[in-house]
Structures are given as structure tokens and as C-alpha cells.
Symmetry: C2
Subunit: 321 residues, 2 copies
């Protein structure tokens, strides 16, 4: 059996895992990122986290073939430099070569959303599919696309950013400088904003009870109140699903994938969210009477997708050679 190290590099934690050829994590370690210590310190911690994961797996470091890293930002076309990672305050750093020097292992970088969809396609919700589109609904909206079993992250630098396609021309201003981006309507943050607005307008809503009197409003608040029969919460959810469906069907009309995967905390709402979303997406896809639209499903691997997908970058690289 061959093993690869996968590192899910986050703004808060560095999670590393030793992953076998089948996509199983056989050992893992998680260490705070401590980005405020600066780039060099973080790279050393990444190398140590890989060693810890190898120990946890009970395998020799030499058995690890190479290292893949999922980066929260843009990587260059050669997959060796981080172009920018805003959460880490990194810009144009030679991460792959520096990790290689520390670990003595070939290292390849990828965008974290790309890693997630790669993992879901290899051994998660889209196992066995040759093409997939994934949207991750979190603070923002990230996305990844698989074409012919491989990551498609655009033809040039900058990465695939479906969260910054326009969904409402002239709509709410986005941090990217544009207006009406998908992310302003389909992210968990957008759902929370809409939940708050609806609560302000409806003091009788169950959303108040579900959020401890408004003290802890999150992406679950409206879902829980809606499930308990609150009509205002139901409106918030219906509207949210409608926005997500418009974003997803637009991507289906472009990529015609075999399957659509929804990731992020909100996907954890399961069928209550995914079933109506799936129906709404299908009803909006172009030529849906003639060509059966793809299923929309929830991601299956949760946080592990980051580690597994990062390790998969190594396996894909070996494939190419």
C-alpha cells in the first residue's frame, strides 16, 4: 500500500493526515496554525504536523510518498507557489519548495475547494463520477469542478470563483468590489443576515426562541424554527433555497456535470435542505424536459475532505507522469 500526506491548511488549524491509496485516513494530527507567528513558523509547524500524523498512523516517514497541501487561497499554475492566502496574510510564497526542503518529500499545492471536490469525487458523495460541481456554503461560497476525473481550476491564474458570479445584477455590495455576487445570497453568512432581518420584522417568530432570544443566531436558526412550523422561518429558508438553486442551475448550464455536491455546514441540514434544493435546481436547468438534470447531493466527507483531497493531489500528479 502506498501512503500520501494531506495537509488541510486553515486560518485556525493545520490538519494533516496520512492517506492510503483508497482515500482512507490512517493517522492524523491537528495543530493550531498560529498565522500571527509569520510564514516561516507556519511552514515548520506544517512539517511537524505531518510527522505527528505519520506517528499516529504508526508508519515510517519514509513510507510517505509525497505531500499535498490544500491552501485557503490561490495557487500558481505550477502548483508550487501560493499566489495569495488572505486569511494567512500570505502573498506569493514558495510553499512547496520550502516544505520539500523541510520534509524531504515532493510537495504539491492545490486550492482547498478544489481538494474538497476531488475527495468527494474519489471517495465521497460523487464516488465513481467523472464530472462534478461542488459549492461549499460557508462564510463565503467556494466551489470546485471536476472534468474528466480531474480538477478544473480555470485556464489561467486566479482560480475558479463561482461565489463571485453575479446572481443579482446591481445587488448587495460584495467584499470583492462587485455587486450581487452569489456569495451575498447563497452563503451561510447571507442566510444568517436574512434570518436576522426576518426576526427584526417578526417578533412573534420561533426564530427568537431557537436562537436563545437572539443571542446565538446561526445558519441553523431558521432551519430549526421552520421545522417547528414557523412560517417566517419557512420564508427565509424558501428564499435561501431559491438563491442557491439559481446559482447551482447556472453552473449546471455551463458544466453539465454528472452530479452537484453541496458542502459546508448548511449541507448538514440533510434532506430538509437538499430535497427542495434538488427539485428547484432541476426545474431551472436549461432543456430539463429533454436532458435529465444532475442530482444535487450533500457532501459526505465533512472536514476530512480537505485532508483526503490534498493527498489526492499527489495521486493525480503521479497519474499524469
Amino acid at each position: 500500500m502506498r501512503y500520501y500526506a494531506g495537509i488541510d491548511l486553515g486560518g485556525t488549524n493545520i490538519a494533516a493526515g496520512i492517506v492510503d491509496e483508497t482515500g482512507q485516513i490512517v493517522g492524523r494530527a491537528i495543530v493550531p496554525t498560529g498565522a500571527e507567528r509569520g510564514y516561516g513558523a507556519v511552514v515548520r509547524t506544517m512539517a511537524e504536523t505531518v510527522n505527528l500524523a505519520a506517528s499516529a498512523a504508526g508508519i515510517d516517514r519514509d513510507s510517505v510518498g509525497s505531500i499535498g497541501v490544500g491552501v485557503p487561497g490561490a495557487v500558481d499554475l505550477d502548483k508550487v507557489r501560493v499566489v495569495e492566502a488572505p486569511n494567512l496574510a500570505w502573498r506569493d510564497v514558495a510553499l512547496a519548495s520550502e516544505l520539500e526542503a523541510l520534509c524531504g518529500k515532493k510537495t504539491i499545492l492545490g486550492n482547498d475547494a478544489d481538494c474538497a471536490v476531488l475527495a468527494e469525487t474519489a471517495c465521497g458523495a460523487a464516488r465513481g463520477r467523472k464530472s462534478a460541481v461542488m459549492l461549499t456554503l460557508g462564510t463565503g461560497v467556494g466551489g470546485g469542478v471536476i472534468i474528466d476525473g480531474r480538477i478544473f481550476s480555470g485556464c489561467g491564474p486566479g482560480g475558479l470563483e463561482p461565489g463571485h458570479m453575479t446572481l443579482v445584477h446591481g445587488g448587495e455590495p460584495c467584499s470583492c468590489g462587485n455587486r450581487g455576487c452569489v456569495e451575498m445570497y447563497a452563503s451561510a453568512s447571507a442566510l444568517i443576515r436574512r434570518t436576522k432581518r426576518a426576526m427584526d420584522m417578526h417578533p412573534d417568530s420561533l426564530m427568537w426562541e431557537k436562537s436563545g432570544g437572539g443571542l446565538s443566531i446561526d445558519g441553523k436558526t431558521a432551519f430549526e424554527a421552520a421545522k417547528s412550523g414557523d412560517k417566517w422561518a419557512k420564508c427565509v429558508i424558501d428564499e435561501y433555497i431559491s438563491y442557491v438553486a439559481s446559482a447551482v442551475s447556472g453552473l449546471v448550464n455551463i458544466f453539465r456535470p454528472e452530479i452537484v455536491i453541496i458542502g459546508g455546514g448548511i449541507a448538514g441540514q440533510g434532506d430538509y435542505f437538499i430535497k427542495p434544493l434538488n427539485a428547484a435546481v432541476k426545474s431551472r436547468c436549461y432543456a430539463n424536459k429533454l436532458i435529465s438534470p444532475p442530482e444535487t447531493v450533500a457532501a459526505a466527507l465533512g472536514n476530512d475532505a480537505g485532508i483526503i483531497g490534498a493527498a489526492m493531489l499527489c495521486m493525480q500528479k503521479e497519474d499524469i507522469k
Copy 2:
């Protein structure tokens, strides 16, 4: 020199050309489609049009390697059947094998928008580029994408339909059954609708004069009045450019192409349209401070793109083998 036949199959005319390896049309013929005569008659006319084009080129039919057809509709993944061509009232017909039987030449099908972008990339406005996104602004909005020098028309059947991505969630109803599609705001038809509305509201607008008192309002009306200083026409154009820019920047954020090509009659407005559009697209692309956005240019081949691109389908097919 090798030659290929390219057929641009339209609802009104069948245009065929004999195209050499460099993308030059060396002979052509154009014959009315007569779709009302039914599928079989149209296929026979297509074969005859190829013969006429070969005669016009002064070359022997035997010198023509194979035939490519640009179809105004969806073709199957094997590029041999037309799934649906609404303007011809065709559904699931074996066009390639039937043309092969009539002409004795290998035949390959492609979507007409795909042919256009292929031609522009091979020998038009995007010559020498390995990736491109093209939007054709006409009655509707069609589009084609080139990745790594080859057509990308989606992973499954249905074709790439950027005209049916949502640009205004909950906006104007589209004939596809969805609402707020790109095509409802960025097509020439949409520009004409907005021109008419602005004229109704502003009896003093120069658009009345430019359209013969409202008798011939088309995609040029607002442009001509705006160029003559009419402020209401300028508003129509500014708004139109803003919609097109949102659609284009969304596609740039997905495909990160080297170049964006705008086709259709409106692209004929030249710099007056393309310059502000280019500026607006660049200002909206994600991470435009960090990564230089692609240029947006007007298509260069006009109606010839259909014939040349159809012939290019044959050349690409030979490449693959």
C-alpha cells in the same frame, strides 16, 4: 494542402465552404434551408451545397477530407446526432451518418456557437490563444468556450448555455422557463426592448429620429442616438453594457480565459461598445488587483466563423486520432 468542408446550418440558409488547413475559405455556396420541406430534403440540400462550394473552389470533391457541420442546437456527445434543433424542428436525428451516406465523406457535428469560438481562436480575434470565452449577442445569447485549444461544451449532453445563467434572480421570465437569464438582459433583443421602453418614456429622444419615427427600431438605434449625444440613449447603452459586463465577468471568474470574444451584430459597434465593456469587465473580475483580467475584444470573422469553425471540427478530430 488539405481541404475540409464546413457547413453553417441555419434556420434561414445553409452556407457551405471549402476551407484549407490555414482556415481560409477557398470556395463557398449559400442555399436557402427550406426547413419546412422536412429533414430529409434539408440533408440532401446540405450535400448539394457542399458540391456547389467544391465547384466554386475549383477543386475535386475527392480533395475534400471530411465534413464538419455547425448545428443551431444541441448535438450528442459522439458528435453524430442532433439532439434538438428548435429552429429546424429537428429532434434526435442521425445527421452525420446520413450526410456521410450522401457525400461519402466522414462527417462530424458541433454546436454553432462552439464552431464560432473555435474559428475565432484558430484564425480570428483570439488567434494563438489556448483558452477563450465567446458570447454571441443576438436574438438570444449563445456562448462557446475553448480550454487548452479545444472546444469545451460541458461534461454531459445539453451544451454550454451561458445565456441561461441567472443574472437577475427573480427577474424577467425567459422562454427557457427560468427567470432573469443572461439572455433577457444581454441579448440584442433585450437591448431593443430597453430602447423601446426608453423611447416611450422620452418623446424628445433622438432615438425616434434614428429609428424613422419608431418604425425601424433595432440593435443600432440606441447606439446611433447615443453617438449623436442623446442622453436617454446613452442611459440605455450604459445599462446594457453593465449587464453584459456582469455576465462576462462571471464567466471570467469561472474559466479564467486568456481572452473574451464578443460576437453578434452588436459587436459591430466596435470601440464605442467594446472599450467601455472591456473596462467594466476588468473592474468586476475577482482579484483584479492581483491578477490581470483578460481583454474583451470584438469577433473578427463575422458570419464566416460558422463555416470555418465547422471545418475546424474536422481538423480537431484528426488531431485527436
